[in-house]
Symmetry: C2
Subunit: 211 residues, 2 copies
Amino acid sequence: MGRGWARHNAAVTVTGTAPPGVPAETTRARVERAALDLFTLRGFEQVTTDEVADAAGISRRTFFRYFATKADAVWGDFGAHVARLEELLAGTDPGRPVLESVCAAYVEVNDYAGTELPLLRERMLLILNEPALLAHSQLRYAEVDRVVARYVADRSGATPSDLVPRLVAATTRASATTAFEAWLADEHSALGDQLRQAFTELTRGFPGLVH
Amino acid sequence: MGRGWARHNAAVTVTGTAPPGVPAETTRARVERAALDLFTLRGFEQVTTDEVADAAGISRRTFFRYFATKADAVWGDFGAHVARLEELLAGTDPGRPVLESVCAAYVEVNDYAGTELPLLRERMLLILNEPALLAHSQLRYAEVDRVVARYVADRSGATPSDLVPRLVAATTRASATTAFEAWLADEHSALGDQLRQAFTELTRGFPGLVH
DNA sequence: AGGCTAGTGACACCCGGTGCCAGGGGGCAA
DNA sequence: TTGCCCCCTGGCACCGGGTGTCACTAGCCT
C-alpha cells in the first residue's frame, strides 16, 4: 500500500452506535486505539503511519493533525496528566515535608482505576521497550520535571533552576519510571506499591547499600 | 543544494599537514568537528546531513557509515566512556559502600582534562538543549544504566532487574545529568564539584527538604 | 440562498536513513 | 609490471516521518 492510495471506505466517522447518553467515540480516541493495537501487535517501527491512518479510517495527513508525531499517538492526553500533577502539588499541605509531598503527588496521580490498567500496561510496555518511544519519553518527562522543580523551588525558597529543585524533580521522576518498570515486570504487583517502595528507598538514601 | 549534487572539491582526505609524530586527523574526527560547529552555530534541526557531509568533504552516504544517526555525530565515542565507567566499577574497593562506589566512579569517569572542557561544554549544551538530541540521550543513558545496575546487583546479591539496582542506576544517572546542567549554567563552576554536591544530596535523601 | 468556518484529503516536497551497485586506490603475489 | 583482492567511497533509488498548500465539503449562522 503505497503513499498515494485510494481510501477504500467512505470514512466511517463514528464506529457503530454509541449507547444513549454515552458520547460516540471520538476520531482521536479511535486513532489512538488503532495505533496502540497495531504497535503492540507488530512493533512500533514496523507499522507505518499510513497503516494506522488506514486502520482508523482517516488519511495520513489527518493523522498528523491529531498527533504531532507518530509517537504521540501512544501517549494519550499526557498534557492533562501533567496538569493534574501540578494541581495535586498546588493543593498540598504546607506543613508536610516537601519531598514527601512530591512523592505523594506522584502516587496519587498514578492511582488509576482498575479498568484503565490494561490500557496503561499496553502503553507503558510500548514506551519502555520500543527505542523510538523511549527516546521520545525524555521530552515528555521534561514537562513533568519543570512542574516538580517549580514546586520544590517555591516551597524551599529557591529558584527552579537551582540544583536541589532540579535534582528532586529528576530523581523522583527516575524513581517513578523505575517503579513502572518493576510493575510491568511483575504481573501481580500493584503500581502504587511499587511507587511507594521506590520512593521509600530514594528518600532514605538507599539504606540497604551502606554495606 | 539538493539531494544529488556534484561534490565541488576533490576530497581532501587529510586537512593540511600533521605535525611529525602526531597522527593526521581522522576523517571521523573531522566530521565530528564539522557537525558540532554547524549544529552549535545554526541549531541541530536546521542543519541537514548533506551540509555536514559537505563541510567535512565527504558524501552523505559516507556520513552515515561513520555515524548511525545524525545525533551520533554529537556523542563522540560514548561507548568508550561507558566501557571506562564499567572498568572503574570493576576495580572498586569491595569494602567501600556500594552507593559511594557508584558515585565515585561517576565523578572519576567525568574527570576531564582542562583542554577537553570547551568541547565537552559544546557537546552537552547541544545535547541538553536540542529536543532531538535530548530524546536520543535516553538511548545512551540506557547503556549506562545497565552497567550500573549490573554492578549494584553483583555487589548487593540481587539481580540487575530488581528494584534497588535499577533504582540506584536511574537516580545516580539522573543526578549526574542534573549536575551537568548546573555546570553548564554556571560558567565558573567545576564539573566535579557539581557532581559531588548532587550525589551528596541524593545519598543523604535531600536533608534540606524535611522541613 | 449566501457566506463563513472547521475538518478533511490529495499532492508535492523536505529530510533522515538504507540497500545496492559501481568504481578506485592501495597492498600483495606471481 | 600485471593482475587480483579488499576496503573505502560515492551515486542512486527508495522508504517513511513530517509539513505546506490548496481544494472540497459539511455544517451553521444570518
